[in-house]
Every structure is written in structure tokens, then in C-alpha cells.
Amino acid sequence: MRALVIDDSRTMRRIIVGVLTALGFETVEAADGRQALDVLEQGIEVDLACIDWNMPVMNGLEFVVAVRERKDWRGVTLMMVTTESEHGQIVRALAAGAHEYMIKPFTPDAVKEKLQLLGLVEIEELV
């Protein structure tokens, strides 16, 4: 599995990359939506994109819309990871095509649970 981590904050990218790496993902980073589109246009295949909302150049919502306009990128699971926590913003992101929504702050376990719900991380069976 490969994940594209899109956030203008180096700190947040580092945190998310750390969580995803521990869950077995390879990661690619982008500092805004435009850079992330460049990654996809280079043909780098990703299974998951973790997307901040507020970023310079191209924000996360614009990125989601751009990805959803391309048939060949339909296999990418889109998860917003953002401080935008109002109900209206969540609805906007999901309506635009995001699959899941995670509000900062988060814990590594919360990320894991979301990815399990999305079928990107196996659910451990209790022995």
C-alpha cells in the first residue's frame, strides 16, 4: 500500500508519515494540492491520500474535486485530515468525493481505526 500525505506543515506530514509507516504504508509527501496532483500525474500510484484542508496554492477541497474528475484516479481513497471540524465543512468534503474525514488532533489509534473502516488496514482478530 502507498499513501500520499498532503499537508503544508512539515510537522504534520512527519507525524502522519510516522503513523502510516508503522501501519505498513509506503509514503509520498506533498506540501499542497498542486504538488499532490503533480505526483499523481507522474503516474505514481497511491491507494490512499491524507489531505489537509487549508493549504496555500491549492487547498484540500480543490484537490479532492480535481481527483474526482479523473476516472483513472478513482481507485484512490481520499481521507481529509484537518482542523476544519464544523459539520458543514465535513458535508462539503464528503459531497466533493472524500471517503473519510479525520479531525486534528488525532491519535495513531484513531488513524488506524479509520483505515480499518476503509479496508486499508486489516482488523486484528482477538485470539
Partner: protein
Amino acid sequence: MSMQVDTTAFAGTDPVYVIAEEVFSSMIDGEPGFLRHWDGDPPPIVDAMHAWVDVHGATNGRVLLSTERSTADDLARALLQMGPTEPVSDEDFADALGEVANIVGGNVKALVPDPGVLTLPQVTHERPHTDPEALIYELPLDWRGSLVVIGLWRLL
């Protein structure tokens, strides 16, 4: 900024404190118990660093986080999971402190009726201009014995 914070969702608990506690416990300390209300009058912050985000829209306001440089360094190290004496680059320092302000500010924005757009975070040594009469609320916090102040300001 008409920043009437809805406290009902938090059963009467200070919602800004609840947000700060969640940010620190989940992303900085990895566990609760290291952040509490400052006991007594907070001292002036020496060698201060300030990080803030603004909300622009039907309401205009600023969420400002202030602390001593050494505490800000510790915050950055904790957030970046670095060692206690590991040097923090200026770029990592500004980015980490700005992200703390961004997360706190974004969650405070959600408490405000009809919120607007959140700006990108800024970090400076000099305190940003705020009209003293525009202070809505100030929360002095004790993080591992060091003072961290979160202020909500009306932008005039």
C-alpha cells in the same frame, strides 16, 4: 468578533481548555495529565514566541498562543518526537509551533457561530498587534511547569 462559545457541549467545562487538553494529550504528550490550568497569576513571558491563526468571515478574530522560547522548543521537540536535548531547526520550530496554533485555532473556530475562513498560521518573536480592549478570553496553562497562554482576540 461575536465569539460566544457554546459550553453546553462540554457540560460546563471551559471548551478552550478541553480543546487544548485534547491537542496536548493526543499529539504532544501522547497521554493526558501534563497540561493543567495555571495556578495563580501568570508571570510575564520572557523571550516570548507567538503563534496565531485568524478567522475571517462574518466573524473576525485571532487565536494566539504565547510561550517562552525554551518552552516552544520543548513543544516542537515533543510534537516532532525528538529527544529532549536534540536541536530544533528554525524551520521545524516555526512549523511545529504554528501547527499547534492551527489545531487549537481550527477547533476554537468550530465553537463560533457562523465561522469564517481560517488563515495559515504565523509564528513570530514579536507579539502581533492586538487592541487591549479586543481581548475576549485568555487561558493561562501550565504545561510541564511552563506557562503557555492561549488568547482569543477580536480583530477590529
